[in-house]
Point group: C2
Chain length 527, copies 2
């Protein structure tokens, strides 16, 4: 997730100190590792490469780095061999006559070669250019160690010498990154995955998740460091299948639960610096997913205390969500609390929203049973009513597919969410997805791994395992083929260079909501 | 001084640990003062203003600074009311929705309005662009205090908001500069100067000197922080007349004396960071001025111990300088050890060099007397020989002026230095400068306050007090009229916008060698 949809400055929020204290008590102690570049590379144009640029091995050898000197206009590109999140430092010295002017450097931190290859000054998109991972640095005295104070997310570092003087050059040595993450890959259980591409996809998924697991589950460590609720749901599921870190999910649940609006609505995302602040953005499905995260967490850790703390918040959310239902038991679309489902605004989201509500209500009922809530039968009835309305009003039996909105639009999202919500029985679900594959595949116009995840999930949930594997391979596998070290925020297989922002320099190439194949593989494909 | 002339990488230097230890023992403890901006200004084009830009009072009030918020592309220019050298800090906060992207700022520190008005990216001169006093800064979390780690030399600070996001703006508060100098203006004796322009010139001279007196006498606090020997000579004289700080001159003498070449030659300048390093640039007159600085220092402080330490270095320098004299007792020009005199290479410098050698030899003889050196009569004879040769070979009695070089060029520098060296008697000197004023004034083609100082000095030394005052007013006074808070590295009255580098963004507008009017005023004009 990266987009924000609403500016609701007038919104007032509760800050439940008790819950937020528990959020703070679960800030993980970050783990650090020191890593070093594996080679020096040159970034060159290649029209067949992702976004038109690729990294090739330089004539310069990393072992001899300190022997090279760089003058005005010259560039050094270090390749750390894999994606990393952390702090960069490097030693610099002057070579030649005494240093008669400051050293002036431009540093670019890049997850992919194109972020170096593309001139960042050409970026003119709507997302803040302040996310471009570049810095200008003056150093008055060499030798020195340049320790970059900010954390970056990158594989490549370009250091361009903007100026020295004609009398001296700069030499570099001891580049090093101290990585940061709440988790370590060595904590992930080894599993047998025979298919080499699936094995690779599993690894890249885990690396993606690791690099997004910081003091919260970050959206992306390069861009949008905040915690999004719908993304948290997927990250937490992937986490249970791999690192199985408890405290970070717990922290994130308390953050959302501790800061609802005065009426009880949960923000789509929260910021945690300089202090915990909920964003003034609300999305219907994201608010509801608080219940999903709580349910999945409870299933995994059987932690009654968090359920006792947060069940009232979850119940309030359900009550607010149900107010959006019409007398016909169909979700009314409300532009002040929109249904997200996917970035695309070309698809109608009513049927998806209806399905998501049913999906979440079923999870809520399981929690209500755990809490022995007296209202439980009321919720069960509502599930029945909503499901019946979905089948009666939103299923086109001629087409064999769900329709959505006033124009009776047939789209992939509606089918997928109805399957995930198990509105139909298993045979019907199988048939629905057979039909969906026939009619709606190959998927086009969808750029988010988030939506692709739900399509793959629906295939697995409806007995289309082979199609599920094929989708994983054709989507995430294509990113691997294009050189992904971590999975990307946005990817359209039919247009690999698509950027929602018009430039790769602002794209995030390690984005949490893309990490789910490890969850799907380990849940549906590994014994 | 700013220029460097030679790249002599092969040169080997002695490092006399005993002398350098004394240099280090005399590093001054810097004095600090906290200052605050007096107003918010706008920088606007004005073809009549210095370099085409001036600062006018903004509609925004400095007292209400924190009430204003700034979005992408907006700028704040703070005016501290006078020149300052030090560290800048300012508090920042975000206004509006939660901060969903880093803050990205561009800061420009400017001694004059044009350094903000002129787009720094247009600079294409030969001097390193790394001197341009601008920074780009990302701040991940607001509120914060932005403390700029580097020291700047400036009156104005422009903060341009490169980007925030559409959802929030930046507000600023508590801008502050902690100034740095080895000296304080309150230590300068008050003197009566009736003429308001001379009084102002005296004040600006003192401010210039103060801001250049750091851990060495700096060339300019904006650009070229190193210590130049010929410039030290003038700064030290101005210092004796004002702050009268002993340790800083002492430190600088030990720095030059402690790091001669293997044959004993003294560099034109030294660097002191990361450690003391002599530059590989040598100028005949600058090397000789080591003796001048030592003599002036001894006259002022009667410090026998430094004379005992450094007399051998001075004597060695004289011996090396005398090797450059031909059998005709005229200085031979040596491109490996050129005579500087002035930046201009359009003037022949042989006669000036001859005069400077005589001038310095006379100072050396005074030191030799103090040291009771047995060789003293040899040096006196040499002075006589050199003076006789100057009068016989370099004075054109028809013209009544000194000539220089194979083309018998008549230039102002030759007359001035012959006067300062007192090669002629007082009446002849008076006549020479009368003739010089008639024939060679108004001075053109000279851009350095350094050369203008010597012209003014020659006028005072030859009984042309009124002409001296007039020159001070027409040169330094014109800078004051153009808005100088401190005196500039370079100024051609006939072309006020002249820059030796092609752009004001790289010019130094507080440059030590321009601070001498306070010396001239206090020596020749104040009772």
């Amino acid at each position: 997730m990266a987009f924000t949809f609403q500016i609701n400055n007038g919104v007032k929020f509760n800050h439940n100190k008790n819950l937020l204290k528990k959020a703070d008590e679960n800030i993980p102690e970050l783990k650090h590792e020191k890593i070093h570049p594996v080679k020096i590379v040159d970034i060159i144009s290649d029209k067949n490469a992702m976004n038109g640029f690729k990294a090739i091995k330089s004539d310069k050898k990393i072992e001899r780095l300190s022997d090279y000197s760089f003058k005005k206009g010259q560039r050094l590109v270090l390749d750390f061999g894999n994606h990393a999140v952390g702090h960069f430092k490097i030693d610099l010295n002057s070579v030649g006559s005494p240093m008669d002017a400051p050293a002036y450097l431009h540093l670019t931190f890049a997850e992919t070669p194109a972020e170096i290859g593309v001139d960042s000054s050409t970026y003119d998109g709507w997302l803040s250019s302040s996310w471009i991972a570049e810095e200008y640095v003056h150093l008055d005295v060499l030798p020195t160690t340049l320790k970059m104070p900010r954390r970056y997310s990158f594989r490549y570092v370009e250091i361009e010498v903007k100026d020295t003087s004609p009398k001296w050059q700069i030499s570099f040595s001891n580049p090093e990154v101290t990585t940061e993450s709440a988790v370590s890959v060595k904590d992930v259980p080894k599993v047998e995955i025979d298919d080499p591409m699936l094995k690779k996809i599993d690894q890249v998924s885990i690396k993606t998740l690791q690099d997004c697991m910081q003091e919260v589950f970050e959206d992306g460590p390069k861009r949008d460091h905040r915690l999004w609720l719908g993304d948290l749901r997927l990250q937490a599921l992937a986490n249970y299948a791999t690192f199985n870190n408890q405290e970070l999910v717990k922290r994130c649940l308390y953050l959302f639960g501790g800061m609802t609006t005065e009426e009880g609505k949960i923000s789509a995302n929260v910021f945690t610096k300089p202090e915990s602040i909920p964003d003034d953005t609300f999305m219907y499905d994201y608010s509801l997913f608080f219940i999903s995260v709580l349910k999945d967490y409870f299933d995994n850790f059987k932690d009654q205390s968090i359920l006792d703390d947060l069940y009232p918040v979850a119940k309030k959310e359900i009550e607010l969500a149900l107010k959006e239902i019409g007398t016909d038991n169909i979700l009314k679309m409300n532009e002040d609390w929109p249904v997200f489902v996917d970035w695309s605004n070309d698809i109608d989201k009513q049927a998806s929203g209806q399905a998501i509500l049913i999906y979440v209500l079923k999870q809520f009922v399981a929690l209500a049973e755990q809490k022995q809530d007296n209202d439980i039968n009321k919720y069960k009835r509502i599930i029945d009513d909503l499901s019946k309305a979905a089948k009666d009003e939103l299923f086109d039996s001629n087409k064999g597919l769900f329709i959505s909105g006033p124009d009776r639009e047939v789209n992939i999202a509606s089918q997928v969410w109805m399957v995930i919500a198990h509105v139909l029985n298993d045979d019907e679900n199988n048939e629905l997805m057979t039909k969906s594959v026939e009619e709606l595949f190959p998927v086009t116009g969808i750029a988010t791994p988030y939506m692709y995840h739900h399509i793959a999930l629906a295939l697995f949930e409806s007995g289309h395992k082979n199609d599920g594997v094929e989708l994983i391979k054709s989507y995430w596998g294509k990113m691997v083929d294009l050189g992904a070290d971590t999975f990307w925020e946005a990817f359209e297989p039919e247009d690999p260079n698509f950027s929602p922002y018009g430039s790769p320099v602002i794209n995030s190439y390690c984005h949490a909501w893309s990490c789910t194949p490890t969850y799907l593989i380990r849940k549906y494909l590994v014994k």
